[in-house]
């Protein structure tokens, strides 16, 4: 028989998946049913949506476009050592 009942751990996992639009309809249904008896996970979900907005707005990529000239030199020197040994 189809199991509707899920634990809070499973419910919050579904909620996390849904933040990336990766939860299935069946999972969303289970989550909704879980909310009827669990206000904690309903609150988690509300806050999780907020967290997604926070991530979107505040997570930035550090600049990591290239290695410095010195760093490349260092690899180059190590590299030449290896080549001369071969």
């Amino acid at each position: 028989m189809f199991k509707f009942k899920i634990t809070c751990d499973q419910a919050t996992t579904i909620c996390d998946k849904s933040q990336y639009r990766k939860a299935t309809l069946l999972e969303i249904l289970r989550l909704r049913i879980h909310f009827i008896n669990c206000k904690i996970c309903a609150l988690y979900t509300k806050q999780n949506n907020r967290m997604s907005r926070i991530f979107k707005k505040n997570m930035r990529e550090d600049a990591f476009c290239s290695m410095t000239k010195e760093e490349k030199e260092a690899i180059h020197t190590a590299f030449q050592k290896k080549t001369s040994m071969n």
Binding site: D16, N48, F55, S66, I75, H76
Partner: protein, 189 residues
């Protein structure tokens, strides 16, 4: 230099031609400058060592990236076995009758009526970064690939050689920990 296929190898030019490309490729996955540099260097060395097996079917760069991919998987396995395992504080009972329920002390708190206003505060970014820094490395690595860099689930699974259920467990743990950290340090203080 060997000629079988149409491509050939020129190791003396590797650093100039591919160091930046490989470094960016690595940074987008492991996020750590020092680690990325080491992995790129290891890739060049490994390439040098296995030049004989280059058949010229793929371009030089593709061939080097294939080596680098193995290095990244190895690195992920290393952080996974070292420290990535136990130190995430659990949010749910892991066994007994109430397995899967919220641990009492981990239950989400109400964030208060000023939560929306607090989300606009400029200092929030700094607090968030501190929280991400506190994540175990493997959680941070997967979480950033998924959330910041929009890698597809399939791609992450393939590149780190993990199952999709494993990936979601990691994302779930990272997110519950970040939610908790932001609650303690920002929303409910």
């Amino acid at each position: 230099m060997r000629k079988k296929g149409k491509h050939t190898l020129h190791p003396d030019k590797w650093i100039d031609l591919y160091a930046d490309y490989l470094y960016n490729y690595t940074m987008a996955r492991v996020s750590k400058p020092e680690v990325s540099k080491d992995l790129v260097q290891e890739t060049f060395f490994a390439g040098l060592k296995s030049m004989k097996s280059f058949e010229g079917k793929a371009s030089e760069r593709t061939w080097l990236v294939a080596i680098l991919k193995r290095k990244i998987i190895d690195y992920y396995r290393k952080i996974n076995s070292n420290k990535g395992r136990a130190e995430v504080r659990m949010n749910f009972y892991s066994d007994g009758d109430n397995q899967g329920d919220w641990l009492e002390e981990r239950v989400p708190q109400t964030w208060g009526s000023d939560a929306d206003k607090k989300m606009e505060n400029e200092e929030l970014g700094g607090v968030l970064n501190d929280c991400i820094e506190k994540l175990p490395e493997k959680y941070a690595m997967v979480f950033k690939m998924k959330t910041l860099r929009d890698f597809s689930t399939e791609q992450i699974c393939k590149e780190l050689s993990i199952s999709s259920s494993n990936l979601w467990v990691i994302v779930h743990r990272a997110r519950t920990q970040l939610r908790r950290c932001m609650e303690d340090n920002w929303f409910v203080k």
